[in-house]
Amino acid sequence: MPGKLKAKIVAGRHLPVMDRASDLTDAFVEVKFGNTTFKTDVYPKSLNPQWNSEWFKFEVDDEDLQDEPLQITVLDHDTYSANDAIGKVYIDIDPLLCTEAASIISGWFPIYDTIHGIRGEINVLVKVELFNDLNRFRQSSCGVKFFCTTSIPRGYRAATVHGFLEELVVNEDPEYQWIDRIRTPRASNEARQRLISLMSGELQRKIGLKVLEMGGNAVVGYLQCFDLEGESGLVVRAIGTACSLEKLSSGSILNTHTHPNTAPASNACNSPSKDGKEPVFGEDLPSSSGPPTPFRALPTSSSPPPPFSPSKPCSRQSSSSDTDLSLTPKTGMGSGGSAGKEAGPLKTLLRQQTQTALEQREFPFFTLTSFPPAFLLHVGGVVNARSVKLLDRIHNPALGNTRSYKLLDWNSVTADEPETRDAWWEEIRQEIKSHAKALGCHAVVGYSESTSICEEVCILSASGTAAILNPRYMREGCLDIGSTDHRFEEPSPPTCGFCHIPYDELNMPFPAQLTYCYHCRRQKVPDVLFTTIDLPAEAAVTGKGCLIQARLCRLKKKAQGEVNATAISNLLPFMEYELHTQLMNKLKLRSMNALFGLRIQISVGENMLLGLASATGVYLTALPAPGGIQIAGKTPGDPSNEQHLLTIQKRINEATAKNKELYQINPPKLFALDPEVFCGTNMELTEEGVGSPIPEPRQRSRLFRSHSESSDEISELDLSHGKKDAFVLEIDDTDAVEDIHSLLTDANPPRGFYSCNTETMPGIYNWTSGIQMFTSVRILRLNNTNLTNQGLNKIFTDLCENLLKSFYFKLRSMIPCCLCHLNFTVAVPEEELIQVAVTAVAMTFDKDQTQEKLAEKLIPKGGSDTDEQLQFPMELCADSSTINSQPSSKISGVPESTNISSRAASVDYGSFADRCSTWLELLRLKAHTIRRGSVKTSRRTQSLAHSVSSLEHSSPLPDGRSRSLRSSRSFGGSTVTVVKMTPLSFLPGTRIIKYLGIINMFFIRETTSLREEGGVSGFLHSFIAEVFAMVRAHVAALGGNAVVSYSMQDCVLMENPNKNQAQCLINVSGDAVICVRESDQDSLASTTTIGHSCSSTTDVTT
């Protein structure tokens, strides 16, 4: 059933001169939707035409509304010859189809031409009237909300998380059609842009249908990618997480923004999780021989042999220290055994329960990376699968004959065709699922998929974090009937609960060293934890985090077809192993024990493979302190060698000490010392102190025993080093020397800078409103034909390090600041070329506040905008601080309250009474409020000094609409709304009041005058700037003032300098939002009573 789409063309400006004789243009506009086209009149002789057209009306199916973009073409009228196209605007009208999103699109859009770039702007109005369609069998899915954000969007509550969504659409690539030989590059580019726009519209509609089937109303963590497979076609695929979201009333979202930063519960973590990575193949390790390979090159070609089976190494991140230490799996098992029993029954019960909920789903995967409190119970570790496929093996007869633009749905066409991409992904997902199972986990969170294509070889990768989730979220309507579940919930405080191992110690999937949680002392944790998710907000962290990268290049012979694929798949496990080792070493060097946001990318080129692993290292208070790195030589006794080793050892020790200081890693003394000595007393102290049940003597003794056991065993193995779990690096050949050197060459960020690849930096809580999102691309040409692996590694490492240095230098005016969400993407666009693209955001924070005590840590958050608050009368300030402090005090209250109540009462986040728990807490809230008010007053004067500079960060005004923004500009004539962009899900100092819909745009730019445009750099620089401009314009037209969760999925550059040509494709996505400054919201809310805000806080915690 249909809807009515209405469009009106208002005016144009800054048009290019199309008529050389008059230096003017006779412009008119074609408005096209589906097969219907309307035209405006010609507006003669003007570069700023005022068409002011009638409303063009299109009556269309809602299915089309979802698939098709509105296509606006600006042309120059020519009486005697064909009209010249000036450029086009594609408008995705999807946001208008959802009642909660935008209601009108209105604004200036850049007129884009794939050859000339932006050529002027056009002002357009678009509206949709949608008729309700109750047809059960409809093909459209209007109304399903899409979010790129990989967490529950601010202002919403997840009633149910339904689960994994995936879909892909395949078509022939117009660039490779025969007609491309005779049409102009412009026509070909436009055909491609249009096709991809259609395909992603269709994909989104289909995903939406799946959501409706599951009973959800939204897709969160929506990730769409393109695979340009050349001759064999174009694949658009998407994954996401289906949810039922409920909008929170406006008052109740007060504190959602505080999200990532919760007060670090200083010594608050209580249970041990396990080391994050588990070498699943541990059992197979030949523990005797040398450094064991943690990977078993499983020919996973198990069932229906995939087109290319030998190539399926399923490698998983292995863990680690154990493996490398050549410990036998028994060590871990032995120590873990005792504790396992008590937790056993509970766990099993829990697992069974959740499993029933989850098992109905084929894939219990979640693309989310951060979760509502209490959602994530335990984290197992990273699971990871890759598969190498040959593209030319796929042949779809349907495609072969069709030369039309009709979209082909691979799924339907190929029902009887086993070789489909769906099947490939299915295989990989199955593998991931089984890995997760091996870790005792029933779900995979932080899940993502990617491909790397070179000629006909394609590497498919999937990775995620195995986890156990709270079953309450899995069942429909279960949030309210949750009480029965709670009995089975383990009373793990949120600060450490997720670290506790999900698997059974008696039956460990891989060798790991387990200890009792350094926070709660009740359950086991691994020594190291690797994950692909963001650091849970409630996790207890010591010190600050930092970006850790492992980089690797491997040469490979040029080859074709299967030989090539085999060569690649043989290399993969070794690359993963080395990347993992590098990560582990670098982690230890920084005295940290956990990685978050781990992303391992392997890119294939004709003659090399590139591997890049990025993650954010942190010291989780719940996990044991990492031991140092110990250097050992293969041939002890050689004096010169010894000397050399000593020097290296010294350097490593110095670096470690320096890093500790730099990242402020000072774990609470009691825990840092050898647990054998202090464990007993310590435990008593903590446990009695918080008044929680004292463990039975039996348990305690076991505790002792296990500790001593494990340490005994280790000390046997590790004769050279007194420390418990020192990490031994053997220097037995030049490679190892290189490795160590590269370990030490990684520079730390300069003073005033921090960097991470997660949403926010662990340990920084006081963001101010200054942000700068940027994209940087660098391509290196290797002229040296006979490079070694080492040489390549060095070049690649330098490339990444220099990029980081460049960022620090460019952003130095923002100090103190943190580069967040540093997302590196590597590619080998051609032989001898290495491309690295980075998108990240630099955010300023308030340094002075970092020293403040825990309770006040969050104050600067609310106060971060003090300079902006200046515009409000004093009384308002005072009031606003009252409200504002709510979130901070609430959150800082968490760790404390957990200690007191959560164990006994079990964490009942579902019920109101528990959450706002006691009067005590209320009182504390008030106390905070008062303190906070005074702090703020004092800051006000100091911020006067900054007020001038703060003008530059023009932040959104109260209602966030462009109208009001306009009035604030100093240039009278400007109609440009400031649009902030960030890869994060929030903007510091602001609150998102409305999500306007998803932005998903694909652009092609081509040039035949590369030199004139300033070479490839000039070409790409302006293209990226143009892409930003178009994203901003679309957001502004929707009425928004910011893009969150922005990402650049693809940036494919092809150049041919000899022909003076280049072509580039960029795909970006994000969520358009309206956000307001916190201070504004405060003043709005200042009338609300304490009681009200208290209850609203409650809602949020859910």
């Binding site: 400006r13 800054h14 200036w108 850049p110 932006i118 702007e121 520079a747 300069p750 800078f753 700068q772 999102m773 940027f774 994209t775 940087s776 691309v777 660098r778 391509i779 290196l780 040409r781 290797l782 002229n783 070049i795 220099n802 240095k805 460049s806 620090y808 230098f809 460019k810 952003l811 070329l833 003008l951 530059e952 023009s954 500009r969 100093s970 240039f971 004539g973 400007s974 109609t975 440009v976 400031v978 649009v979 902030k980 300033g1014 070479g1015 490839v1016 750099s1017 000039g1018 790409l1020 620089h1021 302006s1022 990226i1024 700037a1025 143009e1026 930003f1028 401009a1029 178009m1030 901003r1032 314009a1033 550059l1053």
Partner: protein
């Protein structure tokens, strides 16, 4: 191994003011890097040479892309390509339109034509301003000239409005346009001692008092007259001929002299020279006025002022205070002359002359 491509694009365009200045000054990337390194930029943020080079190239590219917009500054505020804060936009524009005094002195009063543009290499060599920078400045002059040429209304206002310049800079541009339009001679050796600012202030005086627009909006039903601030008021120039009576009528001349001398006596050391030179000086000033109907003589206005008045006074070692005293009494005494009927014209003329001479009377 070589860097094939290297770009950095911020959502808010990042611009370093120092690099912008180097770019404006026409430094090449390599030279700019050198200057920055010497300026100690390497000490910031543990930068190395590659980092500075890459940053400089990025910024240069950004500026080149912005340059098109800077040619019509109002576009900068409305364009969508670069997100630049208003504060930054102002800086960008102001600096782009800033010029070197040394350079402007060379082209002041010249026709802003292709011919002059060809001489820019000589000017560049002479002034040590890089050729690139000379071209930018010259093109700026020409662009502003072309735009305001066809506009109605007050000159300074028009410049400020169409180029979003500060008041000060808009006035300077008004002076440049005014000089270029009237082709005042400023290049002669005798005028070399004058700075651009001297001329700019004189131009301001001329614009405010001697042009069509100067008479004030009251006298025009609609004050939107083309070139009202650029062309001198022809009627006024005609009227100036009437002043000749001050030197041709012997009585009037003597009367004027005695009035001035009475007033000056005992007030200055240069009294004797003043008395002796009175007739010469008066003849000089009045003759300048009488000749201004000829375009050629308008061009020589400043050189005439120097030759006919400033040089004689300087050779008599008048101080600036002497000059002020003399001109004040010289102007005011005319009001007492009953037979002289052209007081209004006289005041309009002498008001400007006085200010110009005050400004120009220095070493």
């Amino acid at each position: 191994m070589s860097v094939e491509l290297d770009v950095f694009v911020g959502n808010t365009t990042i611009m370093d003011e120092e690099v912008y200045q180097l770019w404006l000054d026409g430094y090449t990337v390599i030279d700019a890097v050198k200057v920055r390194r010497e300026g100690g930029v390497l000490d910031e943020c543990e930068a190395n040479a590659d980092v500075v080079l890459s940053d400089t190239m990025d910024q240069y590219r950004t500026f080149q892309m912005c340059e098109r917009l800077l040619h019509s500054p109002p576009k900068l505020a409305n364009q969508l390509l670069f997100q630049i804060t208003p504060h930054r936009q102002t800086i960008l524009i102001e600096r782009y339109y800033a010029f070197d005094d040394a350079f402007v002195r060379e082209v002041l009063g010249k026709k802003l034509s292709k011919g002059t543009k060809k001489d820019l290499d000589d000017i560049s060599a002479k002034t040590t301003v890089t050729l690139k920078s000379c071209r930018r400045q010259f093109d700026n002059f020409k662009r502003v000239f072309k735009v305001v040429e066809e506009l109605k209304g007050p000159l300074v206002e028009n410049i400020r409005h169409h180029f979003l310049l500060s008041d000060k800079l808009a006035k300077d541009y008004a002076a440049i346009v005014f000089f270029a339009n009237n082709r005042f001679e400023t290049g002669k050796r005798k005028l070399q001692y004058l700075t651009f600012q001297d001329f700019a202030i004189c131009a301001g005086q001329l614009i405010n008092n001697w042009t069509v627009g100067a008479v004030g909006p009251d006298s025009f039903v609609d004050n939107m007259v083309e070139d009202m601030d650029v062309d001198l008021d022809k009627e006024f120039l005609q009227e100036l001929k009437e002043l000749k009576i001050l030197i041709t009528d012997k009585d009037l001349l003597d009367q004027h002299k005695s009035l001035v001398c009475t007033a000056l006596r005992g007030k200055t050391k240069a009294f004797n020279e003043m008395e002796a030179n009175f007739k010469n000086l008066s003849r000089g000033l009045v003759n300048i006025a009488a000749k201004l109907t000829n375009t050629k003589d308008v061009r020589d206005f400043f050189i005439d002022l120097v030759e006919k008045f400033i040089e004689p006074c300087r050779s008599d070692r008048w101080t600036a205070a002497d000059m002020k005293l003399y001109l004040t009494h010289y102007t005011n005494s005319v009001h007492i002359l009953d037979t002289f009927k052209h007081q209004v014209v006289w005041d309009r003329y002498m008001g400007v002359i006085k200010s110009c001479i005050f400004k120009m009377y220095h070493d």
